[in-house]
């Protein structure tokens, strides 16, 4: 048999545990209080009895049996009477308020203590038995003196306290159980919302989100954390799906082209026309192009799926730019392009160096490709007033019209006048992906403008966030 849900919740179990601990502590406290109070009451009664006994013994020593007898009779009618009994040597009662000693006649010397009960008449005429303490001693002359005291009233007080404590304990346990049930209900209600969300996601609904009530408590924190996690999961799943679609789309056309070319080459060769070697060389070229495209698409997809570039380190961006400039400078010289590098030394950037190098290479390569002989290309690295690090490459080639600037960053977009140049059409998309993977951005602007038949040019800036 399963317990009702409410009794299986963690808060309810915790409540039970706390109640059990509380009950144990309360029982220990009660036991201690009882023992301590009861002991104290007895001790105080005993002290009084002892004093009374001493005082009576003093009277006996001064005036003998008759004085003692006299004193006992007087005291028996006092305000708070002790119980007295005086026996002669043979154990016969001489005087006293009780008939016989609860201890009996004893020959042994010294003190004899006892706890006993006295029978009293209550106001209604009924008999009540009340607890009492008593002390008996044999006097020097051989008589036996017993002094007792009624402790019933004090003991009743103790019993009252104990009973009240038991009652309070029971009440606390009841209230505790009720509180536990209320808290459990509350927690269960909040958890149920979270569990529903998890169940929905598990069933495949990645859009399910937990409700945040706005109480800013730990349930809200948990719900927010869960939602954030789901957001990321959804994004990366979306990214993967998008990357898959993109790869399929991006590779289908070059592969189709390759296949068509090989097929027509085969037909020509079978017909005895065409050169098989030439066809194979062409096919190999096409295959290499497919591979280049594939590598670029994969690199972009990986960056986009990862969200942030892996293995980022701190380094001097000027150094990287100088290295890239060194690689491309001969190319400019060969093409008759004026090549300038302007670096602010000792800056720091946090990035994945090889990936950033690839991006810069793409930008520089583009600039050189589209700048006519006699033109100029300038690489600059500087720190913006915002603290961001900017790599920029400016050329005075034909540039990109304002309305096309967003488009050229998209995959496979190549402007009409660039068709004659080689390239996959993925260069700037990769640069944009690299910028995003570093929390930065890619900016395209007009270059230096038109002059001497050059321009307006293009300025491509890769802006990376400041290093804290």
């Amino acid at each position: 048999m399963r317990l009702p849900r409410i009794f299986r919740t963690t808060p309810f179990r915790l409540t039970l545990l706390f109640l059990a601990m509380f009950a144990a502590a309360a029982a220990a406290f009660l036991a201690y209080a009882y023992l301590a109070t009861a002991g104290e009451v007895t001790r105080r009664a005993d002290d009084e009895i002892r004093r009374e006994m001493n005082s009576l013994e003093a009277i006996y020593r001064r005036g003998g049996t008759s004085s003692l007898n006299q004193a006992l009779i007087e005291r028996a009618v006092g305000e708070r009477p002790f119980l007295y009994l005086l026996l002669d040597k043979q154990g016969h009662k001489i005087t006293g308020s009780i008939e016989e000693s609860p201890i009996g006649s004893t020959d042994e010397p010294g003190e004899h203590w006892t706890t006993f009960q006295v029978t009293d008449t209550d106001p209604d005429g009924g008999e009540v038995k009340r607890p009492a303490r008593g002390l008996q001693e044999r006097l020097e002359g051989g008589e036996v003196l017993f002094v007792g005291a009624d402790v019933g009233e004090s003991e009743g007080f103790v019993t009252g306290i104990v009973r009240a404590l038991w009652g309070a304990g029971a009440l606390v346990i009841l209230l505790g159980l009720a509180g536990g049930i209320i808290v459990s209900r509350n927690v269960s209600r909040h958890m149920a919302g979270l569990n529903e969300t998890v169940a929905a996601v598990r069933a495949g609904d990645l859009k399910a989100r937990a409700r945040v009530r706005g109480a800013r408590d730990e349930y809200d924190e948990l719900a927010e954390g869960l939602n954030e996690m789901l957001d990321r999961l959804e994004r990366s799943m979306g990214g993967l799906r998008h990357a898959g679609d993109a790869i399929a789309h991006d590779l289908r056309s070059p592969l189709t082209r390759l296949r068509a070319r090989m097929e027509s080459a085969l037909i020509e060769v079978e017909a005895g026309k065409g050169d098989p070697k030439q066809a194979l060389i062409q096919a190999l070229d096409d295959a290499d192009n497919v591979l280049t495209t594939f590598n670029a698409v994969l690199a972009i997809a990986r960056l986009q799926a990862a969200g942030s570039a892996p293995d980022q380190t701190l380094f001097d961006p000027g150094q990287l730019a100088a290295d890239m400039a060194e690689l491309y400078e001969p190319l400019c010289e060969e093409k008759g392009i004026d090549f300038k590098v302007e670096l602010i030394p000792r800056l720091t950037v946090k990035a994945a160096r090889p990936i950033l190098a690839q991006a810069l290479a793409n930008v520089i390569d583009n600039a050189i490709k589209y700048t006519p002989p006699g033109g100029a290309v300038m690489i600059r690295v500087r720190r913006r007033s915002s603290g961001e690090i900017e790599f920029s490459v400016t050329d005075n080639g034909p540039g990109v019209p304002l309305e096309d600037r967003n488009r050229v960053v998209q995959r496979f977009v190549r402007l009409e006048n660039s068709r004659s140049e080689s390239g996959s059409g993925l260069g700037l998309s990769l640069v944009a992906a690299v910028a995003e993977a570093h929390g930065g951005r890619l900016e395209l602007d007009e270059g230096p403008g038109q002059y001497d038949g050059f321009g307006p040019g293009l300025r491509v800036a890769l802006v990376l966030p400041r290093v804290e």
Binding site: P310, L327, P330, L331, E334, P354, A357, Q358, D365
Partner: protein, 223 residues
């Protein structure tokens, strides 16, 4: 020259054996990591070509094991994984070079050639000499015959690499990786321009042209 190919893709291994066979290498093929390791432990190979992902024992484990056993045979790692981290893993395991699949044949042969000859020039030299070209690695000077040749630091590194691999074909990718230490596709052939600059410095005015272009592969420095 004997080469051990440890590769689970039978067709790829056969194509590789054929190609390397034509280039004059004697190839033996093992189809999984465990068999490859057993074969490699018999020693006597000049180069091991090890695929990264294989059944039974992956390429990294194979290379780590033979290196632990003190075998220093040059290893060329083949992998479909081209990320920086993957390359570092392979080289850290003890591989000497890393080639990403799919590769062009001249690239594979050039790299195998570079690895197989490396041992012969193992000693630490202070001068390199190829034909009448002489390089002093301490003073960082280069002479061809009696003519002193003035080189930029990168040109010096480029020539040093070519001289250490004199008589062998080296590809553009190899130069980009070994001289510049870049592992990306530079799109335009920037390397060609650097080579032609170097060529104009060492060959210009001399009757015999040392720096040759190898069609479909790359470059070669002939004595």
């Amino acid at each position: 020259m004997r080469i051990l190919i440890i590769e689970d893709d039978i067709e790829a291994a056969e194509a590789m054996s054929r190609g390397l066979g034509e280039a004059g290498y004697d190839c033996i093929h093992a189809a999984d990591g465990a068999a490859g390791l057993a074969e490699a432990q018999k020693r006597g190979f000049d180069v091991l070509i090890v695929d990264r992902m294989m059944p039974k024992m992956n390429g990294v484990q194979v290379v780590e094991t033979i290196r632990r056993e003190g075998d220093a045979t040059p290893v060329l790692f083949l992998s479909a994984l081209g990320e920086v981290a993957d390359r570092v893993d392979g080289l850290q395991a003890g591989a000497d070079d890393y080639l990403v699949k799919p590769y062009a044949f001249p690239e594979l042969i050039a790299r195998v050639e570079a690895l197989s000859r490396r041992r012969e020039t193992g000693a630490v030299a202070t001068t390199l000499k190829v034909g009448d070209l002489e390089m002093n690695l301490i003073a960082r000077t280069v002479h061809r015959g009696t003519t002193e040749i003035d080189l930029q630091p990168r040109e010096f590194q480029l020539l040093e690499f070519m001289m250490r691999h004199a008589g062998q074909s080296v590809t553009r990718t190899m130069l980009l990786e070994k001289v510049w230490e870049y592992h990306f596709d530079p799109q335009t052939n920037v390397i060609d321009v650097h080579i032609s600059r170097l060529r104009s410095k060492i060959d210009k005015g001399f009757e015999r042209q040392m720096l040759q272009t190898v069609r479909g592969a790359g470059y070669r420095l002939d004595p």
